[in-house]
């Protein structure tokens, strides 16, 4: 009986093309924990908002002095800003830069952490000691303070430069964890086998070890994105990045410096970007925690 249903199930799954079957299985596992599912939906929503919605909704950039700090209405669902511009429109156009910078920063910092973390663990000895010492030092300096001073000196004017600076500051925590992972993987039989076949350090790291840390790296990539958003929004709020254009954190900077914080009417103007950043951060964290459960069967119960 059970054997028969198992066979039927397998046939059902096999009718779906292979990559889709994986997606279906993934969604089924994600839906077991509401928090993870909410996170996934939230992240997809914000990605849509930031990259697809600007293609559909026209930019409304005109100053309208008759509608300064307008209350929410059908034409302006979240009200208007200090120049009478629509807040929702700014939220739609203001996500792209921040999210792109966060993805780039997470990518660069993950690459640094993987490369040097696995080199430290596989080579060992003095190189390991030196890499670890540098990591410890980098972990000790308060990163946001260093970032503020670096931003004040360099004034990064492109989001690519900003992403590089963020990445150079936030790799240490991940490096330590990658190193620990590699150290435990190093003792496994398949790595031993690759080593005895003399397949070379690069092959062992990239072909044998990294595929086994895939889930781990994905989760930390998401966490790295939250750190990058936290840091870049912080320095933009302080007005240290001469980025022109629209962006949730720059909206906050203008709102704060126009004194919008102290007007009763500008409540929704400030709540817009605050909620956009806060909900995106929360979605990322919850997605990461949902993925952790999917990838690590021992946590599921």
């Amino acid at each position: 009986m059970t054997a028969a249903t198992a066979v039927v199930d397998r046939r059902d799954v096999s009718r779906i093309p292979a990559p889709l079957a994986g997606v279906v299985e993934f969604l089924r596992m994600m839906s077991r924990k509401p928090v993870g599912l909410i996170g996934l939906i939230g992240v997809l929503f914000f990605l849509f908002l930031a990259y697809v919605a600007p293609l559909i909704v026209p930019l409304q950039d005109a100053v309208d002095v008759t509608a300064i700090y307008a209350k929410p209405s059908w034409t302006h669902p979240l009200g208007t800003d200090f120049q009478g511009r629509d807040v929702v429109n700014q939220i739609v156009y203001g996500g792209g830069d921040i999210i792109t910078t966060a993805i780039l920063a997470a990518l660069f910092s993950t690459l640094i952490a993987i490369t040097f973390g696995s080199i430290a663990a596989t080579v060992g000895g003095r190189i390991d000691a030196v890499i670890l010492a540098i990591t410890d030092v980098a972990l000790t300096i308060p990163q946001l303070i260093l970032l503020i001073v670096i931003a004040a000196i360099f004034r990064p004017s492109s989001f690519f430069a900003l992403a590089v600076i963020l990445a150079l500051l936030q790799w240490p925590a991940l490096l330590r964890q990658i190193r620990a992972q590699v150290l435990s993987l190093r003792e496994r039989d398949f790595v031993e086998a690759a080593r005895s076949l003399d397949l070379g350090l690069m092959h062992i790291i990239f072909r044998e070890m990294l595929p086994n840390m895939r889930s781990y790296i994905v989760i930390h990539f998401i966490i790295a994105m939250t750190l990058a958003i936290y840091a870049q929004a912080a320095i933009m709020f302080l007005g240290l990045v001469p980025l022109s254009g629209k962006n949730w954190a720059i909206m906050l900077y203008f709102a704060y410096n126009q004194g919008a914080l102290f007007f009763k009417d500008s409540f929704f103007y400030l709540m817009g970007p605050i909620m956009a950043i806060a909900l995106f951060q929360l979605s990322l964290v919850w997605l990461a925690s949902g993925l952790e459960d999917v990838f690590n069967p021992r946590l599921r119960n």
């Binding site: 300096i141 260093l146 001073v149």
Partner: protein
């Protein structure tokens, strides 16, 4: 050395057979093996590297502040390059004519005397005196917030783990993950926006500063109450941004500790639930959180910058932003260094506390750490 483990004994035998040089190296290795030596060496290395980074940032980078200042002086007061450079030299306390390695050594020499140079803006005021006047306020607010969140957080995490999957557990865990995901400065803005402006529950403008001007500092109820009144909002934000971390970490650590054999044995021996919870479960679960505490201390000093800005609390963060806006580079340099020193001290204290709390650490030979 109280006891000698077999490995150390073997080391000593081997060093006796070697040359004097390698014997010295062996002794150094013995000293190096002690946790205190390693911690102090790491601390000194970190201070050295941090000061080098700030030196490089200020002096060597393209478009360095020194060059910018020289340009500024030339444009503003029609000085010649030499005059402007001489004046910039004085301002930065750097002899620009000296070769770069001599400048670097002079800078390190000054640092060794605790001399961080003079502030650009208030001439004649040392950077050190400025920092020492604001740093205590930040440390007080950050420290109080962190301690409160730690105590209440581990308590809530312990309860959540004991009542796993109950409504209380879900409420506490979900609430914890929400407040810890939202950046602290956004929470600060929300507090001002909702409780200060919309509802008018909090007198935001009166709560600015570190204490009310005109009040005489001292150990009086009035002064202490005033300090707490002004620090209340920053403390609440530091509390909220960290409580989630402690709840979630303590919850999972307690769940792991509850499955240990010695807890089952303690139950079988008929020990009281209270004793099992505190001495068997709680104590083991809290251990890994102590080292997390030190890491959090570093992050929270950085995060304090914007929170102090929003509440206008006169701590080191507010001063940092002011120094950035006024391009007071010696002050920026000093703030990076001094906050790093604070984090290092927090780390050292956490290490010591850890070895006090966990008798397995700190014994001779058992110093491997993590």
């Amino acid at each position: 050395m109280a006891t000698i483990t077999p490995a150390q004994g073997e080391l000593q035998v081997r060093t006796l057979q070697r040359s004097p040089l390698s014997r010295m190296r062996g002794n150094l290795a013995g000293l190096w093996g002690r946790p205190i030596t390693q911690a102090v060496a790491k601390a000194l290395l970190t201070i050295y590297v941090t000061s080098t980074i700030t030196f490089v940032l200020i002096r060597l980078m393209p478009g360095s502040p020194v060059e910018i200042k020289i340009d500024e002086l030339m444009n503003q007061s029609q000085m010649s390059y030499a005059d402007a450079a001489a004046m910039a030299s004085g301002l930065f306390d750097i002899d620009l004519k000296a070769p770069i390695h001599e400048q670097y050594l002079a800078y390190l020499g000054n640092l060794a005397h605790g001399d961080l140079g003079n502030s650009f803006l208030s001439r004649g005021t040392t950077v050190m005196s400025i920092i020492l006047s604001v740093l205590p306020w930040t440390l007080f607010a950050v420290g109080t917030g962190l301690m409160l969140s730690f105590i209440i957080g581990i308590f809530l995490g312990l309860i959540a783990a004991y009542r796993r999957n109950s409504l209380l557990d879900h409420a506490v865990s979900t609430g914890g993950s929400i407040v810890s995901s939202v950046p602290g400065y956004l929470i600060a803005l929300l507090i001002v926006l909702i409780f200060g402006i919309q509802l008018r529950w909090l007198p935001i403008t009166q709560m600015r500063g570190a204490f009310t001007s005109g009040i005489t500092p001292g150990f009086t109820f009035e002064f202490i109450g005033d300090i707490l009144f002004h620090a209340a909002l920053p403390i609440s934000v530091f509390f909220l941004t960290h409580i989630g971390l402690w709840i979630l970490s303590m919850r999972s650590a307690t769940l792991a500790a509850l499955e240990e054999d010695h807890v089952t044995v303690a139950r079988a021996r008929g020990l009281s639930d209270g004793r099992i919870t505190t001495a068997y479960v709680g104590r083991n679960a809290v251990l890994p959180l102590v080292s997390q505490f030190a890491i959090a201390a570093g992050a929270v000093v950085g995060g304090a910058v914007i929170i102090e800005q929003i509440f206008v609390y006169q701590g080191v963060g507010l001063r940092l932003v002011a120094s950035v806006n006024q391009r007071d580079y010696p002050l920026m340099q000093g703030i990076i260094l001094m906050t790093t020193v604070c984090v290092i001290i927090a780390n050292l204290v956490a290490d010591l506390l850890y070895s006090k709390l966990d008798p397995r650490i700190g014994r001779a030979g058992g110093a491997a750490g993590k």
